[in-house]
């Protein structure tokens, strides 16, 4: 029986961990991820999970430990934020390259300096080329649902890649929301057992993992990794559909909201898309503006074709980035513009919310108004605009 409960984003992810019941969890504390691990450590202490919990001395060691555990045939998870993710950097590549299906909630937080503990996406955006699948969550329910689906996606034999489940620090991690939780047995059956054919603990068939591959072999390894990423979209769609049949909540890689007849469409990731959806409802009622929101759930692999299709009838598109690629602009904007190469109308890039700067409903509406103005006037310069920035 599904159960309705009130949990924060951190607690929702911890509850998903409890139901996944991993063999190994290794983690290191960092705000705002800490409460996820407090909650999970309490499950361990009360014997509610079979998990061996490793309280490591750094995020680098957390990722190192779960990589080895995963190669040893254990279902292994960790979680982190911001600087913790940055310290894992080297290991993120190794996790993906060693084809370790690790599931890691990342509680999105701004990177230093200046030090800041609040939400933006510069941490996970910076990790976009590491070979991890990235799913972004709009609310706590999605964080929970994404974490469960992540296990299936990661461990699919055609994929075998790690997955980051991204959820906005504080905005989701520390906000109490209603959660529709599946019962344990449903989750158990849905995720199944983790098995890998090449296993570090297979002492009778000893293998060397992480060998030294030079000019003659390295390239082929990378091609196989790229191919695995190519297999992921079909698996993500299939798992999202199956999850829907099981729970009534199905998931695709994109989540379009009132886009069918929209002239003005805003694209983005995470919790702000909830605010943007409200802005759409308001502006349609108040100003008759035909607007919509295209929320991207799966950022890696990048669903370029789907995005292009979803935006093909928009007169203007605004992309909201909660991160900056210094010297370029918003990373999401540039990927979408590249996906729409060869026409398809003007685009503006809105950079917002860095370091947890609030995106109020009014600011979200301003984005739409700004786009509507640019559409009517044809004035699209400057392309990169900052939302809610003090002069």
């Amino acid at each position: 029986m599904a159960e309705r409960m009130a949990l924060t984003g951190n607690d929702s992810a911890a509850y998903a961990f409890k139901q996944i019941n991993p063999d190994v969890v290794a983690a290191y504390p960092i705000t705002p991820q800490t409460e996820l691990m407090h909650k999970f450590a309490a499950y361990v202490a009360d014997g509610e999970v079979k998990t061996e919990f490793v309280p490591v001395e750094s995020e680098h060691s957390a990722m190192s430990a779960v990589i080895a555990a995963s190669l040893a045939g254990a279902r292994a998870c960790t979680a982190t934020s911001a600087n913790g993710l940055a310290l894992m950097w080297e290991m993120l590549y190794i996790a993906a390259s060693c084809r370790c299906p690790i599931v890691m909630p990342v509680i999105n937080r701004a990177l230093s300096a200046p030090i800041n503990i609040h939400c933006d996406h510069s941490d996970t955006m910076g990790a976009r080329d590491t070979g991890w699948i990235q799913l972004y969550s709009e609310n706590c329910q999605e964080a929970y649902d994404n974490a469960l689906q992540a296990v299936r996606i990661a461990e699919h034999p055609d994929v075998m890649l790690p997955v980051m489940v991204c959820l906005d620090g504080f905005i989701l991690s520390h906000t109490l929301e209603g959660l529709e939780a599946n019962d344990d047995e449903t989750v158990r059956n849905f995720i199944g057992e983790y098995e890998r054919s090449d296993n570090l603990l297979d002492v009778e068939r000893p293998q060397t993992f992480g060998a030294f591959a030079l000019q003659n072999y390295y390239f082929e390894f990378k091609k196989q990794q790229a191919d695995a990423m190519q297999e992921a979209p079909a698996v993500i769609d299939e798992v999202g559909k199956e999850y829907g049949e099981l729970t009534g909540r199905s998931y695709g890689r994109l989540d379009p909201y009132r886009c069918d007849d929209a002239d003005v469409i805003v694209v983005g990731l995470g919790s702000s898309m909830g605010t943007a959806k409200q802005a759409v409802d308001d502006l349609r009622d108040e100003a008759g503006l035909k607007c919509g929101v295209l929320k991207i759930r799966c950022f890696r692999p990048f669903p370029g074709d789907l995005i292009r299709q979803a935006l093909q009838n928009a007169a203007i598109v605004g992309v909201m980035d909660r991160a900056v690629s210094f010297g370029l602009g918003g990373p999401l904007f540039h990927e979408i513009r590249s996906a729409r190469y060869g026409g398809d109308g003007p685009m503006l890039n809105f950079i917002y919310g860095l370091g947890g700067r609030d995106l109020s409903l009014d600011l979200a509406k301003d984005v739409f108004r700004n786009l509507a103005e640019a559409k009517d006037s044809g004035q699209v310069e400057p392309v990169v605009r900052y939302v809610g920035l003090r002069e």
Binding site: E52, H60, S61, G73, L201, V203, F209
Partner: protein
């Protein structure tokens, strides 16, 4: 019963095969072969991690591998964290009845990966008390990347990042006493060993493997390229290290220190310094004073070990 009998060991298959690409005269593969033979006996299997370094690059050039046990090379600074993960997975899966084999976990690292960049990872794994043995093969510099100075490089040695020049005498600082740092973690077993005393090294390995908890063995690994001596001299150099007491062979079992080799006649450090080209520049008027300092450092550490050993004996009485 695990054996260290050379006759019996000779009949066992080597677990690190020949054909690897280590330099002639390198002590590393010799030590690793002894360690694996000593550890994987009876019903015990070995699973190992290794940090980036000489032994890793020379033994795992894809699609070949010299290792006949499961090995994972992950990165440079995380051999201990890596073995933590493998050992924890093993504990979890064993508890669930998904694995029944008896596995000993060994983490290998060079001095760069252990004294320097991997020290935090090592310290964390020791403190958490994973059931594993960490083996540092100490060749006293970053040999793999071209003989750069490490925290383990001894005072006065020439390296490419602390070269001896017109005004600099090579490395000015002392070698970090890693074995003492590890011992301060109060783990059940800590030792220093050398491949020229194979039985001593293998006994230590067998003790470590049989001990529940985190254990550590620091193995001297003479390096003809970096230390500048002829490749056929490796074991003589290793023996000289023990005879001059620059590399004392000892073990600490639950806090009790035992010196496993006391040279009948403690040889002067001059013999050690003259045996290797990396110290050649010390024999000039401007650097001569360092020879005396180096001798004093070695004497002080040897005296410290003798005192600790005597204290342990008194406590036992």
């Amino acid at each position: 019963m695990a054996t260290t009998s050379l006759k019996q060991l000779c009949e066992m298959p080597d677990l690190l095969s020949g054909g690897h690409a280590a330099c002639p005269g390198c002590a590393g593969p010799v030590a690793i072969r002894q360690i694996l033979l000593a550890a994987q006996q009876d019903d015990t299997y070995v699973v190992a991690s290794i940090s980036t370094g000489c032994m890793e690059v020379s033994t795992t050039v894809y699609p070949n591998s010299a290792w006949r046990i499961p090995l994972f090379h992950s990165a440079f600074e995380n051999s201990a964290a890596t073995i933590s993960g493998a050992e924890t997975a093993y504990r979890s899966l064993k508890k669930q009845g998904k694995i029944d084999k008896k596995i000993a976990f060994i983490a290998f690292g060079g001095d760069g990966g252990t004294y320097d960049i991997g020290l935090q990872s090592l310290s964390g794994a020791l403190e958490r008390g994973h059931n594993f043995t960490y083996v540092c093969y100490d060749n006293e510099a970053y040999m793999n990347t071209g003989i750069q100075r490490s925290g383990s490089t001894p005072k006065g040695a020439f390296t490419t990042t602390a070269p001896a020049g017109k005004v600099e005498p090579g490395k000015r600082q002392r070698k970090k006493n890693l074995t003492a740092i590890v011992a301060a973690h109060d783990i059940p077993y800590v030792a220093q060993a050398s491949p020229h005393r194979a039985r001593d090294l293998m006994n230590k390995v067998q003790k470590a493997v049989a001990t529940e908890g985190a254990c550590f063995i620091n193995v001297l690994s003479p390096c003809p390229r970096g230390w500048r001596y002829a490749p056929d001299q490796t074991f003589q150099i290793a023996k000289l290290a023990a005879d001059t007491c620059v590399w004392p062979l000892y073990e600490i079992e639950d806090g009790k220190l035992t010196i496993n080799y006391k040279p009948r006649e403690k040889k002067p450090m001059l013999d050690w310094l003259k045996s290797q080209g990396r110290f050649r520049h010390l024999f000039t008027p401007q650097n001569e004073h360092l020879v005396e300092e180096i001798q004093q450092d070695v004497d002080r550490e040897w005296q410290r070990l003798l005192t600790l050993e005597a204290m342990g004996k008194e406590t036992a009485q």
